[in-house]
Amino acid sequence: MDLQAFNQRILPVQGRLFRLAQMFLRNREEAEDAIQDVLLRLWTNRLQLESYQSIDALAVQMTKNLCLDRLKSHQKQKMQDGADVAEVEANVLSPHKQLEDSDSTALIHKLIGELPEQHKLVLHLRDVEEYSFEEIEEVTGLTNANIRVILSRARQKLRDNYLKANDYEAGY
C-alpha cells in the first residue's frame, strides 16, 4: 500500500475518527493529537492492513482504545496531583461551567461525556455517525440485541439527564 492508496482509504475516515476522539477527550487539540497517533500507527503497519476486512472498523477501534488509554492516564495523573481538589471542583459549579451549560449543545456534549464508555460509543456511532447496526457490531463486537439495549438506555439516560439539568437551571 503506497501513500496515495493509504490517503484514499484512510483520509476520508479522518473526520469520523476525529469526532470520535473529540467525543471521548472533549478537547480539540488532544483529539487531533490522538488521531494523528492512530493514523501514524496505521501507516507504519500498512503492510498488514490488507488482511483486515474493514480498515474503517479497525481505525475506529484503535481510536477508541487510544482515547480510553489516554483518559485513564489522565485520571491517574489527576488522582496523584490531588484527588481532593478535583472533588471540590466537581461539587461547585464554576461561573465558566454555568455559562457553558447554558448553551444547550454544549450541555448535551457534557452529558454524553458523563455516560458510561460503552453507551457513549454506541450512541456516538449511531446518532452522530449514522452507523448501521452491522457496522456497530463490527466495531464493538457486541450482538445486535445488546446494541439496541445499550442504545435505548443511552438515549433515555441522555434525555433524562438533559431534562434534569434544564429543570435544575429553571428552578434555580
Binding site: 483529539a31 494523528q36 501514524l40 444547550s104 449543545t105 452522530v128 455517525e129 439496541r148 434525555r159
Partner: protein, 259 residues
C-alpha cells in the same frame, strides 16, 4: 406529521428506529417551528447534526501529510564497522602528515634558492643606488662605504658592479670611500677590466694612503702592466717619500716575480 414524530421519538428511545427514520427526526428538529412539548428534544438532535460537521483543522492535515511522507534522508552512507572507521582515521592522519611534510620541505628548498637570488639582487640594487654618480652628494660617505662593503657579500658579480666600484675609486670625493672601493676591487683582481682600471688609477690618484694601498693591491695580484706607472711614481719628486719607497719595492717585487 406531529403524530408521526411522536411515534418516531418513542421508537427512537426504544432503540428501534432505522438510520433513515433517525435522519428524518434530525431534519424535523432542524426546523424553526417546533411545538412546545417537543422543544426539549431539539438540543439533542441539534447536537448530533452539529457534531457531525466537526473536522480536524487544515493545519492538522498538512502536518499529518508531512509525518506520513517524511523527506527522504540524505544518502550519507554510514561507515559500517568500527574497523573501517579506525582505518579511515589512520589514513587521514597519514595523508595529513605526509602532505604537511612534503609541503614543508618544498617550501624550505624554494626558500633557499629564491631567498639567495632575491637577496643578491636586492643588495646589488641597493649598492647601485647608493653609489650612483648623481646621488653622490645626497648619500653620506659612510653610506657609500657601506654600499661598497656590500660587494663582499655578493656571490657573483657582473660588469656593472665592478664598473661602479672603479668609478667610485676614481671619482669619489671622499678618500675613505675610495680606499674601501680599492679594497673591494682587490677581490675581483682576476677580471681583466678591473686590473687595467687599477693600473690607470695608479696614475691618477694623488693621496699617498690610497697610492700605497693601490701598490699593494697591484703587487698582490701580480699585475705586470703596473711596472710603468710604478717607475713613473718612483721618479716623480712630488710624490711622498714613503710612497716612492713603496713603489720601488713594488717594482722590484714585480720584476723579480717576472724572472
Amino acid at each position: 406529521m406531529k403524530q408521526d414524530i411522536e411515534k418516531l421519538l418513542e421508537k427512537y428511545y426504544e432503540g428501534e428506529t432505522t438510520v433513515e427514520e433517525e435522519k428524518e427526526l434530525k431534519r424535523y428538529f432542524q426546523n424553526e417551528d417546533i411545538p412546545a412539548h417537543l422543544k426539549s428534544h431539539t438540543a439533542q438532535f441539534g447536537y448530533f447534526v452539529e457534531a457531525r460537521n466537526e473536522f480536524p483543522s487544515l493545519l492538522f492535515s498538512s502536518e499529518l501529510a508531512a509525518k506520513l511522507d517524511p523527506p527522504k534522508p540524505g544518502t550519507v552512507r554510514q561507515f559500517g564497522s568500527w574497523l573501517i572507521r579506525i582505518a579511515a582515521g589512520l589514513a587521514l592522519l597519514i595523508v595529513g602528515f605526509t602532505g604537511g611534510w612534503l609541503f614543508q620541505s618544498r617550501l624550505e628548498q624554494g626558500d633557499n634558492v629564491f631567498l639567495a637570488n632575491s637577496k643578491d639582487i636586492a643588495s646589488q640594487n641597493a649598492m647601485k643606488d647608493a653609489l650612483a654618480f648623481e646621488k653622490m652628494n645626497v648619500n653620506s660617505a659612510s653610506e657609500r662605504i657601506q654600499a661598497v662593503n656590500q660587494s663582499y657579500e655578493l656571490s657573483n658579480v657582473d660588469k656593472d658592479i665592478t664598473q661602479l666600484l672603479i668609478n667610485t675609486l676614481n671619482f669619489d670625493p671622499n678618500v675613505n670611500v675610495r680606499l674601501a672601493a680599492c679594497q673591494a676591487l682587490q677581490h675581483f683582481g682576476n677580471e681583466p677590466n678591473v686590473s687595467e682600471a687599477l693600473v690607470q688609477s695608479l696614475a691618477i690618484q694623488t693621496d699617498p694612503n690610497l697610492q700605497i694601498t693601490l701598490i699593494e693591491v697591484l703587487i698582490s695580484i701580480k699585475e705586470k702592466r703596473a711596472l710603468v706607472p710604478l717607475q713613473q711614481l718612483v721618479r716623480n719628486q712630488k710624490v711622498m717619500e714613503v710612497v716612492r719607497i713603496r713603489a720601488e719595492q713594488g717594482v722590484n717585487q714585480l720584476s723579480t716575480a717576472d724572472v
